[in-house]
Amino acid sequence: MFSKVSEKAHPFSSQALPTVIHIKATCILSYVVGMSNSRKWGNVSSKKPSKGKVVQIYESFFKGEDPSVGNEHFWHEFFLLKPSVSKLESELAKLNGEQLTQLKDNLNLICVQCIDILEDSSQIRIAVALQTLCTILKAITRKAASESNLDIVNILVGHDSSKKYIPLLFERCSSILSSNPNSEIKNLALRLILALATGSENLSQNTILEYSMNYTSQVLFEALVYILQDPDTRLALGQFVIQLLTLFVNFSKYEGTNPFVVQLSILDIELALIGYSQVITNHLADFCWQYTTQNADTHAGGWFSSLTNMVGSMFVSDEGSCRNQQLKNHNAILLALYEAVHLNRNFITNLVQTQADTSSPPSPTATLENIRASAESNQAPSQIHLMVNPASQPTSLLATFIEYCSIVTQDTKPDTLFNNGKLCLLILTCISEDQYANSLMHDPNLVYKVQLHRSPMRHRKIPSDPSLPAQPLACAMLDFVVEFITSHKMKRFPMELYLLSIGIAQRLVCYQKRCRVRLSYQWPELWKSLIALLRFLLSHEGTLAKKMNIFQLALQVVNIFNLFITYGDTFLPSPTSYDELYYEMIRMHQVFNNLHAMALRYSSIEGEFKEWAQKLANSLVNVRAITSHFVPKINTWLTDQGLSTPSEDQILEVVRCNYDSLMLKLQDNLDHYERYSESPQHESFFYTMVQTVISDINQNIDFTPEESVQKVFQDFASVS
């Protein structure tokens, strides 16, 4: 095949131009002008324009004819004609499954020719081939979605040669990605691969992808990674690459070995990893920025505008659904982040790698272009830097991600948002479980300003403090958890999310205990919110306990307290913070007493939660010891002093004086938690997530962007 192509190329480029080409549309002519000689001009202009030559060729193909017969140069000319995507699509759409199968030979012919020509030296031919292939592929897969018995591979290249051509297609696309200098062609090739990957709504049923899971996987993976490495292509095409990697990694990953999982897990090219994280960061940062500016608008207007907004939103609930849609689009990005964090250990460093040139809106690309322009013109480097807006805050992936989480978890009622929030929390869980990530998050020198967004609630004002303190990321993460705990105590209790978010706090505390890190954090915030959560569980016990295991959650909360009580000396940030812990527990001792009572109640009766209730009752031993030790002492002290409303300091003093008579029980395994594992617990969740990603890509991505082809024609027609 290869040799054939090169043989053909020669006669064409020489004078042996066939006269078969009847080009009607002058615009097409102008593209080909570089290729044709002046003699052609006369020929063409004499013909009167009708429908395009391409369209004629399409039509004859779909009639079952083969116009290439007897014309050895046919294909070379065909691939110089600008494809008519709409015509091709409509022709294919007209056919039903049966007819398609009948036309199989002709379609095979076109596709195989397309694959062959991908190695051509002419950029125009490559672009046309990619576009044509993509159009046919998309049209057939669309058909296949409705007619389930349609065999896509068979129609594309035929069963017999599929083993040869589909891997060949992947290989050639890969080599375009890694060696073609033209970014538009790269763009087209990426879209073609994306079309291949999203050919079926159900990823595991995508037979085409199976062909990529062999030796081609490495070439393909490297090509994709290469795009991420190059700072320029990363910006334009990074998102496709990320989506593709996510899809490939998720392809039947529970069923067998997936080479992409392995490749991604051992990827250690720093530039590629940075590219990967930068694509994600840019995406999330854009969203956060949009959200912030929108919010700023509504807040700025005062109560009147918020009223009108409310009224307005009653009629047009666009905004919400629009946001839903937007968030759905994030699934691919979030999944990509998840896979990277979950699989690749080298990626962890990038979580806190500060990125100076993230797209800081309003004009991310503009500044980048500035940089590039000045880099090219060899200006003084100081000037390059000055062009970066000094006001824009550099940020890191993790900081941006936490901010993003604070936005998406504000509302967890719709399913899409719930899933989104769950994915976010899963990612945070993975991060908080990682030793190295923890060491970075707890580094007092690596501080960031993380803007957490809080939903307005009846009983609290949103503190709008523009001068955020810069703090280690662990603080921001804890802040986020506290915020989540505080703001989701609702009737439709999102138990799963609560378990995850409290699990995150638990993991952080466990790390601090193990590594003796004293994070300067306002722990009372966490204690208060946890106690408030317990109180909420108690007061809604009636409804909640029927539906879900509130004991597990309560146990988790109590265990966090136990960690502080028994190991506080190893990680609390100041001596007085231990006193404050006791103060909070004593202040809210009623809650713990009630919790204990409830746990006893459930453990005495048979039921599905009996065991959990027993565990919970046991875990409360130290807390109860503390409250029963101090509460009477404080009461007697109060009566001695004749005080009714003691100040916090006074109570703390009493606490300090009475430590020594208190003995605490050492509990086992406080710093042990169940390690996160994706399979089998979350398999179905990720399955649905991947599915939404695919449908999302199918809906939102134009696989056959005409402007790209147009651009290739413009760029290369004159050069020839």
Binding site: P231, T257, V262, I266, I274, A356, Q435, S677
Partner: protein
């Protein structure tokens, strides 16, 4: 010997009648004529500057210069070819191996310029030909002088070849031939005598010559004479003598040399060969020169259209034409010799063409590589000049054999480092514009450093340390970089991991390493900071091997990819080995039957508070107002250990941690001058075996308003001591070093006195002002160290007239010494006296530093002009006897101690800048 093989190929046709007068240009039979021959390179190179200084060449009626020049240009090409032919190791003007006695050839040069009349008496060309020759000079001279070749000859040549020619020319050096000593000696003697007698400024010329030849005549004297003498013969002699001094000694005076180069055109031509030779030898030196030129030539009057000497030299160096000659080029140069052409120009052309052909491919590739990425931080290769020599077989073989690889692909030699320094400075310029306080600046700094790190390791170095520790930069520690306190500027400190290498240019750059996460991530390794366990290394090795083999396995298996279980397994493995976890609670955790283990709440509380009694943990607290304090207060060795442990490069044997302060927007030239004087004084006192101790720190000026400063390690400012510890200096001494009579305290006190006395002398002599407590440091041995010499000699802050006392000596200092009646205090005064006496003895060395820098420079410390130097001289009190000086010291100490203005100034600083 070299000319024997070659017939004279000098373009005699061009010379026309002149050639009659010069029958024996190559004169191997006539040794006396060797003089002009051997020095000609020198002259031809200097030709341009000379022409500028003496515009009407024809009017130099003496004709000697012209004659010399003519001779030069005629012979030049030929000679360099000879050299190439014989592949004589390249030394510019330094004695080549064959020369043996360097001085002889140096004398040649000396003679050539000054006393050409003598040698040439009737032998050289008649005056009548001089006008004719002038044409030749202008046409040929431009070709020959590497310095200006590109200026005038560019138009006449095809662009492509021009560069090669220029490069080649610089490489091809004149060859020094074995001179006939006897004859030379004679000529030299007369040569030295002649001009002296004429100008009458050095009456006893023989003595002078003998003096200069003596071993006494070292770099300091040479610089001094170079500057003071107006006699061109002496100047030439000294300029040549420079080659014989140890490089380090000359390097000390580099700022002075450069300053003279810029401001004294006559000297520029003389110093140039030396600078050139050093530049060719070392890229590091080249850049030092460039930066100094940048720093000092900005003052130069920009009225003249022509570029100044300084700018020219800068462009020449930056154009990278001063490169060491490589094997490659020698081979290339051979080509033209196969067909020597009588025509000079044609000859050159063919040569350049040939070299272009051969070098062409490699260099084109390198150029393409580097041009696309060089300076683009996002590319990951911003400092990679595209040199491929180390990746070739030759490079690898050399590496294995332990030989040095020199770069032969013509990748730019300096550009990587230039970019690196530029990027660092760019950060310095960017930071002050970052709004949002110190925290925001720190975040931005980290972001920029991360960007730079992406491009490291590379063949780049920190100029401030490169002379003492040649190194390649591996990584800049992000977490430890910090923005320093400054009101409107934002200087910052960087901690840089480097690899010490034998030679910056010829050692291979280490490969990039990612954090070895597999080994560092699990808990046991995170704890190694505190307890390094021997098992670690073996385990790391195992994991590393494991990960390596994984990359090679072909049919991938999911088992091979990392899972969380790995962590758990390794953790269990480690838990077994780890028995020394400290707290009771943890031990009890591990003993499984802890059912009924009880622990007292009081114990937990007590352990918690005892953890905070350690002052070191307290000092480590973050202060959002002053984020840098946290980084700076950590003892240096601790920091080195911590960074080394966490760095993937930490296992390299030659790993080093260096630190540097980068300052933009501040003129560091005065600091540099002060640093020189401090070093000079320090050396003087050391030589005199005095106890006085200074701590000079290195300064590298990169331009008139930016530079690198060497941080003083393990030190805190008095301001911070007062702020953080809320105690007096004496109390701090006790807290840190022990009770009054402990050995540690006494040693610290001794150090304090020795350093305080030293700085008192410095402050008095240099009139160092702005002595608030933020500018005075105390190190971990008790030494007092002054920093910030922004106000010296004749300037003081806003000239408020505060700080009228001779030096800063507060009651607190005296308390540390043990009070005014103590022995230590008397010892302190004695030290000051000794210090002054010793300094007075070597006053000239100090004065010359200042005087040279004063000439032509507009530094604020020379505001009072020549009076500045005079005032400085007066402060040495040459006229006072020792007794009188002692009384003076007493008086000064008294004055300083009682000084109202010191207190006032401290108060003023507290009010305006919050400095305690």
């Amino acid at each position: 010997m070299s000319s024997e093989g070659n017939p004279p190929i000098v373009a005699s046709c061009e010379q026309g009648p002149a050639s009659d007068a010069l029958p024996n240009v190559h004169g191997r039979t006539c040794p006396t004529r060797r003089g002009p021959n051997s020095h000609q390179r020198n002259l031809s190179l200097d030709f341009r500057p000379m022409k500028i200084s003496l515009p009407p060449v024809a009017q130099v009626t003496a004709g000697t210069t012209v004659a010399a020049l003519a001779a030069t240009t005629q012979h030049h090409r030929h000679r360099s070819l000879d050299l190439d032919l014989h592949r004589i190791p390249e030394v510019d003007v330094t004695p080549s191996p064959e020369v043996g006695q360097p001085e002889n050839c140096l004398f040649f040069r000396l003679m050539s310029k000054t006393t050409l009349q003598q040698c040439s008496k009737a032998k050289l060309l008649p005056m009548a030909k001089s006008s004719k020759l002038k044409e030749d000079i202008t046409s040929l001279g431009s070709d020959d002088s590497g310095i200006c070749g590109s200026d005038s000859s560019a138009e006449t040549r095809p662009k492509g070849s021009e560069e090669t020619i220029a490069t080649e020319e610089v490489k091809s050096e004149p060859e020094e031939e074995q001179p006939k000593e006897v004859v030379i000696k004679q000529t030299v003697e007369t040569a030295a005598a002649e001009p002296a007698a004429k100008e009458n400024c050095v009456p006893k010329k023989d003595n002078l010559l003998r003096f200069m030849e003596s071993s006494m005549f070292q770099a300091p004297l040479a610089i001094s004479y170079l500057f003071t003498t107006k006699e061109i013969g002496v100047q030439t002699y000294i300029a040549n003598k420079l080659f014989t001094f140890p490089e380090q000694e000359v390097d000390f005076y580099l700022p002075q040399l450069i300053s003279m180069y810029i401001h004294i055109p006559e000297l520029a031509t003389l110093i140039f060969p030396y600078l050139k030779q050093r530049c060719i030898k070392s890229a590091e030196f080249s850049l030092q020169v460039v930066w100094l030129l940048k720093s000092y030539s900005s003052d130069a009057h920009l009225t003249s259209k022509k570029k100044s000497d300084g700018t020219k030299l800068k462009t020449l160096i930056l154009s990278d034409k001063l490169r060491p000659r490589s094997f490659h080029d020698r081979e290339v140069v051979k080509h033209p010799l196969t067909a020597p052409s009588p025509n000079k120009k044609a000859h050159q052309r063919s040569q350049s063409d040939a070299s272009a052909l051969i070098v062409g491919q490699a260099s084109a590739e390198a150029a393409e590589n580097s041009s696309t990425c060089l300076g683009d931080l996002r590319s990951g290769r911003a400092f990679n000049t595209g040199c491929t020599c180390f990746n070739t077989h030759r490079g690898m073989v050399n590496n294995l054999k332990g030989r040095q690889t020199s770069c032969i692909c013509s990748a730019p030699r300096l550009e990587g480092e230039v970019q690196f320094v530029d990027k660092l400075l760019a950060i310095g310029h960017l930071l002050p514009e970052v709004s949002g306080g110190k925290e925001a600046q720190a975040i931005r700094l980290r972001a920029e450093i991360d960007q730079i790190n992406l491009n490291l390791p590379a063949r780049v170095w920190l100029p401030i340390h490169s002379s003492s520790i040649p190194h390649h930069v591996l990584h800049i520690s992000t977490a430890f970089s910090a923005v320093l306190n400054s009101k409107d500027k934002a200087p910052f400190i960087l901690y840089v991991e480097v690899l010490e290498v034998d030679n910056i240019e010829t050692s291979p750059v280490p490969q990039k390493m990612l954090n070895a996460l597999r080994s560092t991530k699990s808990e046991e390794n995170l704890l190694t900071n505190e307890r390094p366990s021997p098992s670690n290394t073996s385990q790391n090795l195992a994991t590393m091997l494991h990960s390596n083999s994984m990359g090679m396995l072909y049919p991938y298996d999911n088992d091979d990819c990392w899972t969380q279980e790995d962590d758990e397994i390794s953790q269990q493995y480690v838990n077994k080995m780890k028995t020394d976890r400290d707290t009771i609670s943890q031990i009890s955790l591990e003993s499984s039957d802890s059912r009924d283990m009880m622990v007292a709440a009081g114990d937990i509380r007590r352990r918690l508070s005892s953890a905070f009694s350690d002052p070191r943990t307290l000092a480590r607290r973050r202060d959002p107002e002053d984020p840098s304090a946290n980084v700076l207060s950590e003892p240096w060795m601790d920091k080195v250990q911590r960074i080394r442990d966490s760095s993937p490069y930490g296992r390299l044997a030659n790993w080093r941690l260096l630190s540097v302060i980068i300052k933009c927007g501040d003129d560091l030239r005065q600091e540099m001058l002060a640093a020189q004087m401090l070093e000079m004084l320090q050396n003087t006192w050391k030589d005199e075996k005095l106890a006085l101790r200074l701590r000079p720190y290195k300064i590298v000026c990169l331009s008139a308003d930016s530079g690198f400063i060497e941080p003083v390690l393990n030190s805190v400012s008095l301001h911070q001591i007062k702020k953080q510890h809320q105690m007096s200096l004496l109390e701090y001494f006790h807290a840190n070093f022990g009770p009054p009579n402990s050995e540690e305290f006494l040693e610290a006190q001794q150090n304090f006195v020795a350093s305080c006395a030293a700085y008192c002398v410095v402050c008095y002599l240099l009139q160092v002002k702005d002595r608030h407590n933020g500018n005075i440091l105390l190190d971990d041995k008790g030494h007092l160290i002054h920093i910030d010499f922004g106000f010296i000699l004749s300037t003081s802050p806003r000239n408020l007239g505060f700080e009228t006392s001779p030096f800063k000596l507060t009651q607190e200092f005296v308390d540390v010494m043990g009070g005014e009646e103590s022995d230590m205090f008397r010892y302190f005064k004695l030290l000051i006296l000794q210090g002054l006496l010793a300094a007075r003895k070597h006053m000239d060395n100090l004065l010359i530093l200042v005087e040279i820098m004063r000439s032509g420079s507009q530094l604020p410390c020379f505001k009072s002009g020549a009076a500045t130097v005079q005032a400085l001289k007066n402060r040495f009190h040459l006229t006072l006897t020792e007794e009188k000086l002692e009384r003076l010291v007493d008086k000064m100490v008294c004055n300083s101690l009682d000084s109202l203005s010191t207190n006032l100034y401290d108060r003023y600083q507290y009010i305006t800048n919050g400095i305690l």
